[in-house]
């Protein structure tokens, strides 16, 4: 095999529980191949730790294809590491040089408490969706799917936003720990579609207010967009803000009418 082998130094955050104090631990990672993914490199490290009767490093991952949004590592201070629009699991060791020191940390955000080592609890994202990130359409009785034509450009724009994988890199990258990119991506997916109009303002109001309950506020740093593995455009935040302002008027009008 023509693979290059690399020697690396790893500095990894270890923390045995949510309320425990954490610290960095250093590891030497000899001879890792270019073809290995970043998480496979951690697999190799963990196999070695088990071999030495030590505790392996806990980290979240599942699909390893960049789609489930489970992986979540801060690599040298960058959410998901150095490669643009790439989730941690899709990052390969060919992006690193032999002799590099790599610092690996969990997402750090008040709304994402650490469970253990590099694993955090992102259920605050679920709370935002539960508050309004849906179209209320009970099963059964839906009209024929081609009844409402949707211009391709609209469907494409909705899809651009719908691609969010819910990883939380935007929050981790934000100096304020804000979840505006995540929330706005979902709002813009649903608010752009004809099917999403009925609940447009109610949805926006509920989701923004739930977001504010858990997360910090946005001061337009733009770090979120740079960290996002799915290249969700920061423009969605403008749409969310516009709809939120309107929601205040709309919803109030509706209340006064009823």
């Amino acid at each position: 095999m023509s693979n290059h082998l690399k020697n690396l130094k790893l500095k990894i955050w270890r923390q045995s529980g949510p309320t425990e104090k954490g610290h960095f631990e250093e590891y030497v990672m000899p001879e890792i191949s270019d073809e290995a993914s970043f998480l496979e490199m951690l697999d190799v490290l963990n196999e070695g730790l088990i071999g030495e009767n030590k505790l392996p490093v806990v980290f979240d991952h599942d699909c390893r294809e960049g789609i489930c949004g489970t992986c979540s590592l801060m690599i040298n201070g960058q959410a998901h590491g150095p490669e643009r629009s790439t989730a941690t699991c899709q990052l390969h060791m060919r992006k690193f040089k032999s002799g590099d020191e790599i610092v690996i940390e969990p997402w750090r955000a008040a709304a994402f408490p650490i469970i253990k080592d590099l694993m955090v609890d992102r259920s605050a994202f679920d709370r935002i969706i539960e508050s309004g990130g849906f179209i209320s359409a009970n099963t059964g009785g839906a009209p024929d799917a081609n009844l409402i034509p949707i211009p391709k450009s609209v469907a494409d724009a909705a899809m651009d936003s719908a691609e969010c994988i819910g990883c939380g890199a935007c929050v981790a990258a934000c100096p304020n720990g804000a979840a505006n990119l995540f929330t706005a991506a979902k709002i813009s997916h649903l608010n752009l579609l004809p099917q999403g109009q009925a609940e447009r303002y109610k949805r926006t109001e509920a989701m923004v207010e739930t977001m504010d309950e858990y997360f910090g506020s946005c001061t337009n740093h733009g770090e979120c967009e740079a960290a996002c593995p799915k290249e969700i455009s920061i423009d969605v935040i403008a749409l969310m803000n516009k709809d939120y302002r309107k929601s205040k008027l709309k919803n109030r009008k509706e209340i006064s009418r009823s």
Partner: protein, 640 residues
């Protein structure tokens, strides 16, 4: 326990069965639904859709997943699309044709009545998902776009870029989230089912382990739905997400649920070949690529030129040559074996000579790079990221990998296992795909089961239980199961051997892949059945799990899952050994035509093999459900 496999197929012609069933099914009045508790294990397409719909109807629903959020289920990774008999393209599609294609694709080893129902409700799925805001691909006029998939001569596949599973799952997840927000569903994340509890012959609930703190807890219910996905990770390397496992289905099996056709596994033809020994999983390249990509290998095994410099006359377009009428869209099992044979004959491509080309240069010349990018851009990017090569300039290299499992918990027409009150939906059951699943039909089946079948059939079981008490979690059967589960997990920690769960997983996977993979022989299977028990014994003596059972411990989670893979693996080999014919994904080298195609034996094997647990999977008992074909004539499957 005596096993009866009553498929409960309703009376009437194939077109009327589902309507007849619905008309006769017992109903629970809306006001009474709140009196019933239903547990749904799994929040993939099947679980999320079932849970959301049952909650909308008024049942109390508890949902469990080992993921940190229901949105992460493996369904999220499906790329290519979802089938439905909408005939929007006016190209001759119909419910009957989808039904026929599915039965034929499954090599005549599926139950007609279930498959017909699947084809019928397929059209409702698309309507439902569009109403929920799934951004399917559109044509410029605003209508839904379709493409074709392997094993079909019509365009009936709906898609959302290369992320159809993601968009469908997010749709179902959002519907579930709405019910969670309304307080109709209680959601248990990072919670793994570790046992199923039966009391007086019916399923009374489950036992779970909290993955964060190791706590083992019982939950009782009127009915339990297993929507826990497939077992393709038994091979270690597969396209499944890392955490996919068989534990839920296997624990139900050990409590009396029969496990059907475990040897029916699907090897997907288009995955990126392995490049390194540390590799942890294989990545699928969507089958939709075969719409425009052409599969070939060099004629000459010693070919060293780059693909673009190999002249046309020295290329072998294997699928176009062997299957002229379906060409590159031949079904998965057939395409996979063709690739395997090319590589086995020394004509493989790439540094390890372990792949075949999937070439887009014709499509780029014909359609332009823009159109190809529009269709497959994100898949091309994904390929480049992993393989480090640009598919616009060099053909992709692909090779088959474990992808989907047709086998699973045996269920009747109502999707109930042979344990009353225990249901199985989605990939976890065996019901609709026979010996081979067609592309884009798993998403369809998961959503059909969850949205349109279970919510009806479960009422038929619950209605007579109205106002009758059910055993609570203080029942001794629950306590016993809790203690057994605690002992099991503590047991792994206490072995204190020398080898990690991953080591054993790789080893089981290698044996199963070599002897129970794309091609099986009596000799190989017997070899596997002698090697596996020995390795399993080693696992039980030499496993090492560091840490404890009372906190987040991913090594321990893995140990439990690998244990169950061992037991399942032995059953797969036995099932493959006893099925002395070739059909779909089950290819026994002894049973093939002169041209190397699968040779079925309808006289002896037109049945489902449903296995009963006896305490040791090498001694399980094989039961049969005969398959009767009334609407379709059994025919030799030909894609020539």
């Amino acid at each position: 326990m005596t096993i009866t496999l009553n498929s409960k197929i309703p009376a009437g012609s194939i077109n009327d069965k589902w309507n007849n069933y619905k008309e006769d099914a017992k109903l629970v009045a809306p006001g009474n639904k709140r009196k019933f508790k239903v547990i749904v294990v799994g929040s993939g397409l099947a679980g999320a859709s079932a849970a959301a719909t049952m909650a909308e109807l008024g049942y109390q629903v508890d949902v469990f997943t080992f993921h940190d959020s229901p949105r992460r289920a493996h369904s999220i990774a499906a790329q290519g699309g979802i089938n439905a008999a909408k005939n929007y393209q006016g190209d001759g599609d119909s419910v009957h044709r989808l039904f026929y294609d599915t039965i034929k694709g499954g090599d005549f080893r599926a139950r007609e009545a279930n498959v017909h129902r699947l084809a019928e409700v397929s059209v409702n799925i698309i309507d439902q998902m569009v109403a929920q805001g799934v951004p399917f691909a559109r044509e410029y006029g605003g209508m839904l776009d379709n493409r074709s998939f392997g094993g079909a001569q019509v365009s009936r596949t709906f898609y959302a870029r290369g992320q159809t599973g993601q968009q469908l799952l997010l749709g179902a997840y959002q519907q579930l989230a709405r019910q969670i927000g309304l307080g109709n569903v209680r959601m248990f994340n990072r919670t793994e089912l570790v046992d199923v509890v039966t009391i007086e012959g019916r399923c009374a609930g489950i036992v779970t382990r909290d993955l964060v703190n190791g706590e083992v807890v019982s939950h009782s219910a009127h009915a339990v739905v297993m929507a826990t996905g497939g077992y393709g990770n038994v091979f270690f390397l597969s396209t499944n997400a890392m955490a996919c496992n068989v534990t839920a289905a296997w624990r139900a099996h050990r409590k009396g649920a029969t496990f059907a056709n475990p040897c029916y596994t699907q090897i997907h033809p288009t995955c990126i070949p392995q490049s390194d020994p540390t590799q942890s999983k294989l990545t699928l390249m969507s089958e939709s690529l075969r719409n425009d990509g052409r599969v070939w290998v060099p004629q000459n095994p010693d070919e060293t030129r780059p693909a673009s410099q190999v002249p046309e006359a020295e290329r072998d377009y294997i699928l176009e040559r062997l299957y002229p009428s379906y060409g590159n869209l031949a079904p998965r099992d057939i395409s996979s074996r063709a690739a395997k044979r090319s590589v086995d004959s020394g004509r493989g491509v790439g540094p390890l000579k372990n792949g075949v080309y999937l070439d887009f240069s014709d499509a780029i010349n014909r359609l332009g790079k823009d159109v190809v990018e529009e269709r497959y851009g994100n898949l091309f990017e994904m390929y480049e990221r992993i393989a480090g090569e640009n598919p616009y300039d060099m053909p992709m290299r692909i090779y088959p990998a474990s992808h989907y499992t047709m086998g699973g918990l045996w269920v009747d027409y109502e999707l109930m296992t042979n344990i009353p009150g225990l249901y199985a939906a989605g990939e976890a059951n065996f019901s609709d795909h026979g010996a081979n699943r067609l592309g884009a039909s798993a998403l369809m089946q998961g959503l059909a089961d969850g949205y349109f079948v279970l919510p009806y059939t479960i009422g038929n079981y619950l209605a007579p239980m109205l106002n009758k008490p059910i055993p609570g979690t203080d029942h001794p059967a629950f306590k016993e199961a809790e203690l057994a589960a605690q002992a099991r997990y503590q047991g792994y920690v206490d072995i204190k051997g020398t080898r990690s769960p991953d080591y054993f997983h790789r080893e089981v996977g290698r044996i199963i892949w070599d002897y129970c993979g794309m091609e099986r022989t009596q000799q190989g299977l017997e070899k596997a059945l002698s090697e596996l028990p020995a390795l399993y014994e080693e696992f039980q003596k030499d496993l090492r799990v560091t840490g404890d059972a009372e906190s987040m411990n991913q090594t321990l989670e893995k140990a439990g899952r690998v244990d169950d893979f061992f037991q399942l693996g032995m059953l797969m080999c036995r099932d493959a050994l006893e099925r002395e014919e070739s059909c779909g994904g089950h290819f026994r080298a002894e049973y093939q035509t002169e041209e190397g195609e699968a040779l079925r034996d309808d006289e002896k094997f037109a049945h489902v093999a449903a296995w009963e647990w006896t305490g040791d999977s090498t001694k399980s008992i094989r039961h049969k459900e005969e398959l009767n074909f009334e609407a379709i004539h059994l025919a030799t499957r030909s894609y020539k």
